[in-house]
């Protein structure tokens, strides 16, 4: 009973938050709603007894990714209202529905098949984080290392791309100097 109540509550909250994220006209509202939605998603992981995933979700998404977006938004003009693409909306909804239907078929195909065997079964009486560590550092060690290298590459790429010309402070330059610099940059 508690599980059902929690599921419906968090399902409603998550859908509401993500709906706000994709429909609002203010980018700050979108950022806040997305952060809230991420935290509500982690509630599902806790209900599903995947404690480690829930904590990682909160730390990585609500902590790192949202902070990165917040810092990124400082570069952009966030006070301006967003303008939406006005395409044929029935087409948009139809295409989304069809794509989602295909996802359901893809995900439910093995359920209809029904003869799935667990490769790495979840054991009783062993903590979730402990088991994650056991599986991650034995069976998934190579993907784990590759993911580490990928994160390193992403970090260096982010620093090089966003950090270019960081030694010039635009706030100390006059309006003309900024204009000439921008003109040089475009040319």
């Amino acid at each position: 009973m508690f599980e059902a109540a929690a599921f419906y509550l968090f399902a409603f909250l998550t859908i509401a938050m993500f709906w706000i994220t994709v429909t609002t006209k203010h980018s700050l509202y979108a950022l806040t709603a997305l952060a809230a939605g991420m935290i509500f998603i982690s509630a599902f992981f806790f209900i599903l007894e995947a404690d480690f995933m829930g904590v990682v979700q909160i730390i990585v998404y609500s902590g790192a990714v949202m902070a990165l977006y917040a810092f990124g938004m400082m570069f952009f003009d966030t006070t301006r209202e967003l303008h939406e693409k006005r395409v044929n909306s029935s087409l948009v909804f139809g295409l989304s529905g069809m794509a989602a239907l295909i996802i359901v078929v893809m995900v439910s195909a093995p359920i209809i098949g029904g003869n799935i065997e667990a490769h790495y079964p979840i054991l009783e009486g062993v903590g979730n984080s402990q088991q994650i560590g056991m599986v991650l550092f034995t069976k998934y060690l190579v993907p784990f290392e590759v993911a580490a290298v990928m994160l390193l590459v992403a970090m260096i790429a982010g620093i090089i791309m966003a950090g270019r010309k960081m030694d010039e402070s635009y706030s100390e330059l006059s309006e003309e100097e900024i204009n000439t610099k921008n003109a040089e940059g475009i040319a």
């Binding site: 990682v56 990585v60 982010g158 475009i186």
Partner: protein, 101 residues
């Protein structure tokens, strides 16, 4: 009233549709990134739910790697976005038509 795997798959589908709607109607690139985060999260919910109901760890492992990929995608994407904004002073999709034939 038992919550089954189907409940979670339906929820994941709904979230995925919301993300897709966002991808299709957003013009601001930053908002487009938010929509892709929603897509990735909805898939994570489905994977962890399947992992729970089948008693198999593979789903959680995949969700873990998806989170790692999402984090690096944000780092690289925001770097490119900042670079684009410095040069053209806008992040609207409609202005990115430099490859138009």
């Amino acid at each position: 009233m038992e919550i089954t795997l189907t409940h979670y798959l339906v929820l994941s589908t709904v979230l995925f549709s919301i993300g897709l709607i966002g991808v299709m109607r957003r013009k601001n690139l930053l908002m487009l990134f938010f929509a892709t985060e929603i897509l990735l999260n909805s898939v994570n919910v489905a994977l962890v739910a399947i992992s729970h109901y089948y008693g198999d760890f593979t789903g959680q492992m995949f969700a873990f790697f998806i989170i790692a990929i999402a984090a690096s995608e944000v780092a690289v994407g925001l770097g490119l976005l900042v670079l684009w904004f410095k040069r053209y002073n806008t992040i609207d999709l409609d202005n990115m038509t430099s490859m138009k034939g």
